[in-house]
Amino acid sequence: MAASPVNEWLVIVGAGVVTFLTRASFIVFADPHKFPHAFRVALAFVPAAVLAAIVVPGLVMPHGTMELTPANPRLVAGLAAVAVAAKVRNPLVSIVAGMVVLWGLQALA
């Protein structure tokens, strides 16, 4: 399908509708207690699963192929940020630590 300006504006407005409806779901429209128990149990695993599905490829395959080695600076920097995040609650510290390790390894390479 060829890209056209119409499609792009459809996607832009559609993405707005999709994100708003998921956010507003229970805050505006529905009471979560009216849904089956199993649904609420499954909902609890959404953040861990979605966030891991985003983060793991960003660390292990930064250029589209598997780089599960210590020579992959993003993997090392990410693991350093995990170690910091496990100790320090402030997200600023972990993000800065990860970027500093990445820049350091890139400067050494």
Partner: protein
């Protein structure tokens, strides 16, 4: 604004301040990505005002760049937004007493960061009549800083040196949210399985790996939890 409302609002602005160091480069990257995908700067900025979600904006940009069909692009945006269902369910008891226009506003402003900060004990235990101003302070601050960063990225376009690796801020931002989300064995199962499937399915077109991995991960967490309860 009443004095209490104003102090709650300002407390919200202070709550969110430590996160903004990640918000600025992340927003910048989202703006650059939209223009890099072939959208005009105006479209990239419009996407940000409509969706106000970094990961949804990045996924949409990647799929627009891949000339993916509209419905598939929106399905991917929906899957990465599924976590908002959970945030919405968790936040709803704290705002259920508010009029609809307040709940619509808070829903529109809700992000990973607002959820993480807004459900901390000292926020939800605040005085009932004014604590929504604290959520508003968190949300408005993030919103203003995010949109300014996206606009800067969309206008600057591809002039940022790739050597800065600014895109890694996106991975790190989600990493610092992921770590505290892995509390129980079932959480861990959901995360490990989703991460493994995301790698195995990486060859699928249109970033379908993200959709498949998320759903399989949720299933894995659910199974571990269900067996544990029996």
């Amino acid at each position: 604004m009443l004095p209490n409302a104003r102090s709650e609002f300002l407390a919200g602005c202070r709550d969110i301040a430590p996160v903004l160091v990640g918000t600025v480069p992340f927003g910048f990257v989202a703006g650059v990505a939209a223009v890099g995908a072939g959208m005009t700067p105006l479209q990239g900025i419009a996407l940000s005002f409509f969706a106000f979600s970094g990961i949804a904006q990045l996924v949409v940009a990647q799929l627009v760049a891949a000339q993916s069909p509209v419905l598939l692009t929106l399905a991917a945006a929906l899957v990465v937004s599924l976590r908002f269902l959970m945030y919405s369910a968790a936040l709803s008891p704290h705002v259920a007493h508010l009029p609809a226009r307040w709940r619509v506003l808070i829903a529109y402003l809700m992000t990973d960061q607002m959820f993480a900060m807004g459900t901390q004990h000292d926020v939800v235990s605040g005085e009932r009549h004014h604590r929504h101003y604290r959520l508003l302070g968190i949300g408005v601050t993030l919103y203003a800083v995010w949109q300014a960063s996206v606009i800067a990225g969309a206008v600057a376009g591809a002039q940022v040196p790739a050597a800065w690796s600014l895109d890694f801020v996106v991975t790190l931002t989600f990493l610092v949210l992921l770590v505290p989300a892995l509390r129980t064995r079932a959480d861990l199962a959901a995360g490990v399985v989703a991460g493994a499937v995301a790698l195995l399915a990486a060859g699928l077109p249109y970033r379908l790996a993200l959709v498949v991995a998320s759903l399989v991960g949720i299933g894995a967490g659910f199974l571990v939890e269900w067996r544990h309860r029996r």
